[in-house]
């Protein structure tokens, strides 16, 4: 820490702190114009000039970018500092006499009439005063680099290249927002929003947080979602070897720094143009080593966390292999989660003897068989050999292996990680009953975009009772479905946290950001909405989808079944990997004394207890959502949501015992 005295107030600051920040922390006001805490200081306008004295030497410096690195004394209003500031503002007033921010700053220093006659005098109250805030925002904040300067000296102007409208401009409005004089006007916004400024204000709240806070929060501007790899490993949630284990000593080989090195930084991602998180990272100039594109240097979209988590799920810990797999999945139109989870299933079947070299067309496929796994992916695309079999997905493979190879159906159902035919996404849910429900009840199958409750449930222990879990499995799925309805991304909601979020009453819901989404809806439609209104919008759609599934022959309790591997240890090795935790649970919650019992006996006892808890969870959730015990929305619920007018709906519910 370094001692600095500002206007006779002495304080300690960290080395490198700017004088403006030090003064602000001591409650001392220094006027600035081209500075904002949201961007690197530029030192262009010189309005913040102050006088410093360091070992006997007096000097006028700009407070915004002077880094305090040694003891010094600062006078913010010394005679020389004021003279500099006054003349700077006098010259600006001479050139831009009607611009409000210039007049105010000048009046603050006692200047109303400039003594200079400026040849480029501009009477427009919204004239551009060349502070450069817009150029820097577009460069450092939005990474779109569309705005820039033209010329030098007196002819310097802010322009888009060739004075036209640059095709790369995404109309995010950040430049218009930061401009202190209103010199930048947004052209006609094709969506004709009711109140564009309101939307932009809400957007800027999140933009500022992402640019300022992300680096010491999730670092998604650098690593994207891949930042989760080592975190999931730390919390024992990273799927390893078909969800058997939650972590691995090899996880550091595929942690996020490897991907950060590969990702092209500081550019917009291909996802939502103008977004400041830009977390859909890409690996440019990546050389392909297998398959039809061998030797080519390509741009790979990703990898996201799921692709990396899927790789560890196959017992593979090579980031380069993961990127190449990501490339070919995109290239062939295969979802990376489905490919990884079905391959993990194939590998467990191979190690369990259900599959062997003849059945795989000569490929050896234990966990970690990276090259063989890639070959299966190529075969899948060509519709040849074992690729044709694996490409059917876990649900169909289970039936084929029982029919063709006489495999034990119970074992395959336990380890086949699919629900409603969709392969599980890459989180180990064994110790979180709420997330088991989140995956099991999800309308489209085991995908976490409806609910991700592992931390609330397993780590924070915020929802211990069935009723708590049911309430969470109502609010969060409804809230997150709303993003899908609006085509909005959920990351700005809670992948960056406002600094004061912890003081709010429900930090898990991040109320400040939820309010931002209400502003967005009101700004677009001109209609005021509350968070509850948003939930209601989702409930109507969500329940309609459930009833639609019913119409298609699904959508009932039996379809919300989950494989036991997602709810507890299937094999002895799994039990032993967390023996201490399971023995404790048996003794305290299941009242089954584990002492002296064999692992199989303990597994069985644990299983009966956990399967029963899952059933109780379903009951609690169905009840909270206004559904029958068989998981069907009741007529009263449909009426309350106003979706009962659909023709055939009432008959369908009545036919399925949900007429009450």
């Amino acid at each position: 820490m370094i001692q600095v005295t500002i206007d006779d107030k002495t304080l300690e600051v960290e080395a490198g702190t700017s004088i403006v920040d030090a003064a602000k922390s001591a409650g001392i006001f220094i006027p600035t114009l081209c500075h904002t805490d949201f961007l690197e200081p530029e030192g262009a306008c010189r309005v913040c000039s102050v006088e410093i004295e360091q070992n006997g030497r007096f000097q006028v410096v700009t407070a915004c970018n002077y880094p305090i690195r040694g003891e010094l004394t600062v006078k913010t209003a010394s005679e020389r500092a004021l003279a500099t500031r006054r003349t700077v503002l006098e010259m600006m007033l001479a050139r831009w006499p009607q611009v409000k921010v210039v007049r105010d700053l000048a009046k603050h220093l006692g200047i109303t009439e400039p003594r200079f006659a400026h040849p480029q005098k501009n009477e427009d109250p919204h004239a551009c005063i060349l502070c450069g805030l817009c150029v820097r925002t577009c460069r450092e904040g939005v990474w779109q680099n569309v705005l820039g300067f033209e010329g030098r000296g007196a002819s310097r102007r802010v322009v888009m290249p060739y004075d036209g409208v640059a095709p790369e401009c995404v109309g995010c409005g950040a430049c218009a927002f930061v401009c202190p004089t209103g010199a930048i006007q947004m052209m006609d916004d094709p969506n004709h929003p009711a109140d564009a400024a309101r939307i932009r204000r809400a957007g800027m709240v999140v933009t500022k947080e992402m640019v300022l806070l992300d680096d010491d929060q999730c670092k998604m501007r650098r690593a994207g979602t891949a930042h989760l790899v080592e975190i999931m490993n730390d919390y024992d949630l990273l799927p390893v070897n078909n969800y058997r284990f939650g972590s691995s000593d090899d996880a550091h080989k595929i942690s996020s720094p490897h991907f950060v090195k590969r990702f092209t930084q500081n550019i917009q991602d291909g996802c939502a143009l103008g977004c400041d998180m830009a977390c859909a990272k890409g690996s440019d100039d990546f050389e392909i080593t297998t398959g039809p594109d061998k030797g080519k240097r390509v741009c790979v979209d990703g990898p996201e966390y799921e692709t990396a988590g899927g790789t560890t799920n196959m017992g593979i810990f090579d980031p380069e292999w993961c990127i190449e797999m990501n490339y070919y999945c995109d290239h062939y139109g295969v979802d990376t989660i489905s490919y990884c989870t079905l391959m993990a299933f194939v590998m467990e079947c191979y190690e369990a003897g259900v599959l062997n070299k003849e059945r795989t067309g000569g490929l050896e496929l234990p966990f970690g068989a990276a090259d063989a796994a890639m070959e299966v992916l190529h075969q899948m695309a060509r519709g040849e050999g074992f690729g044709l079999v694996a490409g059917q997905g876990v649900r169909r493979m289970k039936k084929m292996f029982v029919a063709d190879y006489g495999a034990d159906p119970d074992f395959l159902n336990d380890i086949g990680m699919e629900s409603k035919g969709l392969e599980y996404s890459e989180y180990v849910t064994k110790e979180s009953l709420a997330q088991q429900g989140g995956y099991g009840i999800a309308l489209k199958g085991a995908q976490h975009d409806e609910a991700w409750l592992i931390f609330m449930d397993m780590v924070n222990k915020q929802i211990p009772s069935f009723a708590d879990k049911a309430e969470a499995l109502h609010y969060f799925p409804m809230w997150r479905t709303w993003f899908g309805l609006m085509g909005l991304c959920k990351l700005p909601w809670n992948d960056v946290e406002p600094t004061d979020n912890a003081e709010t009453d429900e930090p898990a819901k991040v109320p400040k950001h939820v309010a931002g989404y209400c502003d967005f809806v009101a700004g677009m439609t001109g209609q005021e909405v509350t968070p509850a209104d948003l939930i209601r919008m989702s409930e109507r759609v969500y329940n309609f989808q459930r009833i639609f599934n019913l119409k298609m022959g699904f959508g009932q309790r039996e379809h919300d079944r989950i494989p036991y591997r997602s709810a507890g240890p299937v094999t002895a090795t799994e039990y032993e990997s967390r023996a201490e935790r399971y023995d404790k649970q048996l003794a305290e919650e299941v009242d089954f004394d584990p002492a002296g019992k064999s692992t199989d006996e303990k597994c069985a006892a644990l299983r009966t207890w956990r399967e029963d808890r899952y059933e109780k969870l379903l009951d609690a959730v169905y009840e909270r959502r206004g559904w029958t015990a068989n998981g069907i929305p009741t007529l009263t619920t449909a009426k309350a949501l106003g979706i009962d007018k659909m023709d055939g709906l009432v008959d369908l519910l009545t036919a399925n015992g949900a007429a009450q």
Partner: protein, 628 residues
């Protein structure tokens, strides 16, 4: 191509010297930009043909060399080793020169230098007053060595300093201490002790375990300055050797030379010298056979004076517009590509080799330096000046620090031509100031000129006679700076605009009394408020002319008169009845044809049509055109 090593350098030098000594004489012909444009390339070819015609090519060697310095009298040839000096040679004079000097061994008198005062012929270069008081270190090889032949340079002692550094395996700290002991301060104008700069760069590199860069600033934007051009054109290997030694001192493996695009000949010679240095093993993976690896890349300045400022130069080398950044953190810590960087001027690099070869004490003994207490003590060594403007002997001079302005302008420069009166000397370029007659006895060094309101700067020394209007000079510099300002910070962009507006009004006779106060306020806001060196010193030309020549400002404002007769709006051109011979030349060149008169009769100018373009003044052979 031989590979230079620690062992064979001396032998190579001795061979080259022996070859030269074997010859009867070596005709050194100046092929600097000035002489080239006066036809010296053709002169070299003709001399070679004349030597062959006389069958003397076994005994006589013709060597094209860099700028000899005495540009006013170019094209120049000096016959070594005797030092006979011939001037204003045309290609057609070649045969007569060879015939008379070597066959008849009688000097070619009408191409010898005639002292303007004594009117006597001065055969030897060393006796000519222009050269007498000079002492060359950076320019020691000028007019002697062939810049495009590395063997010749080695013959003249090139890379001997480097060999010493590498042979004795000097530790960086030891090498840096030698630089500090030598008292060498930056020749680019800043005057920062070079040893101290290398020391802090070395420290930053070690502390952050990063490889630093070494940069040579050849942007030389000051108008009226061509020292760096001449050094690179005359002795590129001196600059290269200096940079390699600098790289050893700070542990750099990459060096950059930033040279102006407006210097095509210097660029061509630098590229050739670098290629030869690489071929002879002085650059690349194994410098002089040791395991030290270093190479140099050239960046061409694209036309921006501000890029002479170190951070703007580095921005330009990073492929960006030349906008400076705040220097609160010096570039020795965070410079090019944010790594520790040593940036020195061409002239500074050019003397480093000598300091190592002949020892820091030898260098400190020259000039007025005394680094016993502090590295900032006084000014050691010599300084190269480009002496230009209204002075007889315009050219390149290298003089020991501490010499007085009077000695430079009169003893070396030969005073003001056409019998006009000396008025002022401008030093330090746009960041410097104008010093009147009263300051002529000031010693020229880093600190004294600074106190007198100017600065030594990079070496431009422009002599002005009584026909130069000081207000116009101030306006000229402000207009130049406004055109060259990067426009990033308010004081410089708007301050220079306002200064230009006021000064232009004054030169048009529309000045007001309170303008002088405004000029001082604007000078102050620039000095304290501007972001970089260009802006901070932009007020100096105005403040120094205001200080030393306030009466001229007042004449413009109060009496609407321009005493020097330059400001167009305030002057009238008339023709002097006594001296006009009626040769009709002025009438013919006048663009508005407002001059009338019969052949051999007095001509008159129609004042209402005259646009004060001054073409008649330039054209008149008999100085009959008067200005008041």
């Amino acid at each position: 191509m031989p590979k230079v090593t620690l062992e064979n350098l001396e032998k190579l030098a001795a061979d080259a010297e022996a070859a030269r000594a074997g010859m009867r004489a070596d005709l050194c012909v100046c092929v600097g930009t000035g002489c080239v444009s006066a036809g010296s390339v053709a002169l070299v070819d003709e001399l070679k043909r004349a030597v062959k015609d006389q069958g003397l090519d076994g005994e006589l060697k013709v060597t094209p060399t860099g700028c000899n310095g005495f540009c006013a009298h170019g094209p120049i040839a000096v016959i070594q080793p005797e030092g006979a000096f011939y001037e204003r040679l045309k290609a057609k004079d070649a045969p007569t020169l060879i015939q008379k000097h070597f066959v008849d061994s009688t000097p070619l008198e009408d191409h010898m230098y005639r002292d303007p005062e004594t009117r006597e012929l001065v055969p030897l270069e060393k006796d000519i007053r222009f050269f007498a008081k000079q002492q060359t270190i950076a320019l020691r090889n000028r007019g002697i060595v062939d810049p495009e032949d590395i063997a010749d340079a080695i013959g003249r002692g090139a890379y001997r300093g480097l060999r010493k550094v590498l042979a004795e395996d000097m530790a960086p700290e030891a090498l840096i201490q030698m630089l500090i002991r030598s008292g060498l301060r930056g020749r680019g104008g800043g005057g920062f002790p070079t040893g101290v700069k290398w020391q802090s760069c070395c420290a930053a590199a070690v502390e952050r375990s990063e490889t630093p860069y070494v940069v040579c600033n050849g942007d030389e934007g000051d108008p009226g300055a061509f020292m760096d051009r001449s050094i690179v054109e005359a002795d590129p290997h001196a600059v290269i050797e200096g940079m390699i030694i600098g790289a050893v001192a700070v542990g750099a493996s990459e060096g950059f030379v930033y040279l102006r695009k407006e210097y095509p000949l210097a660029l061509e010679r630098l590229y050739k010298a670098l290629d030869q240095a690489r071929a002879w093993g002085l650059l690349g993976d194994s410098v002089m056979g040791t395991d030290f690896a270093f190479d140099i890349i050239v960046h061409q300045g694209a036309g921006a004076f501000v890029c002479g400022e170190s951070t703007a130069l580095m921005a330009s080398m990073e492929g960006r517009a030349g906008e400076p950044r705040a220097k609160y953190v010096h570039s020795v810590e965070y410079g090019y590509r944010n790594r520790p960087t040593v940036l020195n001027n061409v002239e500074t690099w050019a003397v480093v080799g000598q300091i190592l070869d002949r020892g820091p004490e030898w260098f400190a003994s020259i000039g007025t330096g005394d680094v016993s207490e502090s590295p900032w003590g006084g000014s050691s060594g010599t300084k190269v000046f480009s002496l230009v403007g209204n002075v007889n002997n315009t050219g390149l001079v290298e003089v020991p620090m501490g010499i007085t302005l009077r000695e430079i302008v009169y003893d070396i420069g030969g005073g003001v031509p056409d019998g006009r009166a000396f008025k002022a000397v401008q030093t330090g370029g746009p960041s410097g100031g104008c010093l009147p007659e009263g300051s002529l006895d000031l010693p020229v060094d880093f600190d004294t000129l600074q106190k007198a309101g100017s600065m030594m700067g990079s070496g431009g020394l422009i002599v002005m006679d009584d026909r130069t209007c000081m207000v116009d000079v101030a306006r000229y510099f402000i207009e130049f700076l406004l055109d060259e300002s990067c426009g990033k910070c308010t004081p410089c962009r708007e301050g220079l605009t306002c200064l230009n507006e006021i000064l232009t009004r004054i030169t048009e006779g529309k000045g007001r009394d309170e303008d002088l106060g405004l000029l001082e306020d604007l000078g102050a806001v620039l000095k304290d408020g501007a972001l970089c060196g260009l802006g901070q010193t932009a007020g100096n030309p105005v403040l120094s002319t205001l200080h030393h020549f306030r009466s001229e400002y007042e004449a413009h404002i109060r009496d609407g008169k321009c005493p020097a007769g330059t400001c167009k709006a305030l002057i009238k051109y008339t023709i002097d009845p006594e001296t006009c011979t009626g040769c009709t030349l002025c009438a013919r060149v006048c663009p508005t044809e407002c001059i009338s008169g019969e052949k051999k009769q007095l001509h008159t100018i129609a004042q209402d049509e005259c646009i004060q373009c001054g073409t008649c003044l330039d054209a008149c052979k008999d100085d009959a055109v008067l200005v008041e």
